[in-house]
Symmetry: C2
């Protein structure tokens, strides 16, 4: 039995990987650029191999964007990374046990096992970054939909006659409330977190933040009415804005609900490593430890 | 072992009950007014007792509106019927085995077992009647949310700055697209089904139908993006309008989706008895027949 697992979170521009032991301790953390198209699967396999070379890995967990079939263990599709139907085994050296997961849902698994959703079986985990996709944890598992396309909350139409989105639809939530949308709509060269922080003095920042918050209130109200979550966890880069973002989001959500209470809205407890740590938990499960992570902090 | 089960579907103004045998054959079908507040639980118990008196019932299934905890077998709350925390056993004579379910989710169970969703594990079942609540069948089971409040699609805000709804929110889907909203917004004394049928000649009917269809397109697009259903089943009274409603709804849904396909949209295969037939299936399951309904038609 290995002393640790290898966990890799593959993002659109960079990937990070590390060794994670049975107590959740991270070592050998490394970040590499994500190669494009032709070499990306090979690059991930080399990254996994280099981490395995540290010795004694029980299994590998890999979190990837796009469409993932976690039952068949196949990466079905990623527009950004240019792959289609890649079996999990292709991401690791021959003969290594591997668990494959969707990156956002892996983050939801980690939040549920030892993060902000610990002990909660039904919650929404919403990382807000360049885009916005959700992990819907339902009855203790991250639900992917009928074919793995579930959780596209960033493209739900909050203002159906609103601004055109790059996806081809109109009024999509992420067009107003993603970190990249907030920075773009402000237009002053600030990061989204800086826009949120500047809202008290900068009227443009205030207008952009107010619209992002209103859009989130509408989108989260719809999610709440449909799926009745016990909790909403906000993660991703924008969670760094803390209560300056969360307090008005709570108010906007409550104002959209008349006959039922809003669920609590909390920031991620794990932060930007949630996807990688979820991949580690899934790797430990694949190595025969179903309770992995429950004693992590 | 009984020859049949007793199935009762309790609605806001009337309830219907029947005997249903192992082959899904219905007999002794009867409709009674739903008593209010003080006597309603007693009225249901008497109805169940009268049906049991036909002889040899294996179990009773009861479908009710409001909030239901199907695990604890308790009717938690109904604003219309005025009850709170009624154990399932209170709805039947002493010692009779009973299964309790939410009415809309019971209908979703029936559609999934032998109706329009037969063989489909992940679908939306949306009866359109006086109001609009959804059965969300996820991974083969009707999902109720963290506390039984899930499926309130009728109160999701399709136009967030739209008309005020009786619920206290604005722009709710059912404010535009429920059968009662369609009849009310037309204002000419027609039923919703008649409004749909008149749309070719009557410009007011056409405008009301167009807005209902647009609202449904937005609400179903949001559901599709979040939950990736393999199928959408439209039921309730308005399903009687058939392709005059479903064809434009399909087009409206597709027009709101840019990067993924729309799921098929079909009419209920069971019709207005879906809730009662779902209660019958759940009663047969409670009597030890987990496959009940799979050979019904």
């Amino acid at each position: 039995m290995g002393e640790h697992v290898v966990a890799i979170d593959v993002g659109g521009t960079s990937m990070k990987g590390a060794l994670v032991d049975r107590l959740g301790r991270v070592s050998a953390l490394e970040r590499r650029p994500t190669g494009r198209s032709a070499t990306v699967v090979e690059d991930i396999r080399r990254f996994a191999g280099d981490l395995i070379a540290h010795g004694d890995a029980a299994a590998v967990g890999i979190a990837v964007p796009g469409l993932v079939d976690s039952v068949a263990n196949v990466a079905l599709y990623s527009a950004n990374l240019g792959w289609r139907d890649v079996p999990a085994a292709d991401f690791v050296p021959d003969g290594v046990p591997v668990a494959l997961a969707h990156d956002v849902r892996a983050g939801g698994v980690a939040e549920g096992v030892y993060g902000a959703g610990r002990g909660v079986t039904d919650f929404l985990c919403l990382p807000i970054g360049t885009g916005m996709a959700a992990a819907m944890v339902l009855g203790g598992s991250a639900y992917a939909g009928s074919r793995g396309w579930g959780g596209e909350i960033g493209h739900t139409p909050v203002w159906p006659d609103g601004e055109p989105c790059a996806c081809g639809q109109r009024g999509c939530l992420e067009n107003y409330a993603s970190a990249s949308a907030i920075a773009r709509r402000h237009g002053g060269g600030l990061t989204a977190e800086q826009v949120v922080a500047a809202a008290d003095e900068d009227p443009v920042a205030k207008r952009v933040l107010d619209e992002a918050v209103e859009a989130l209130g509408i989108g989260l109200a719809t999610y709440t009415l449909l799926l009745d979550p016990a909790l909403i966890v906000i993660g991703g880069g924008l969670a760094g804005a803390g209560e300056r973002l969360l307090a008005p989001v709570r108010a906007a959500l409550a104002s959209r609900l008349a006959f039922r209470e809003a669920p609590p809205v909390r920031a991620t407890a794990i932060g930007p490593h949630a996807g990688m740590m979820g991949a580690a938990i899934l790797a430990w499960r694949a190595a025969g430890h179903p309770d992995a992570g429950s004693d992590w902090s």
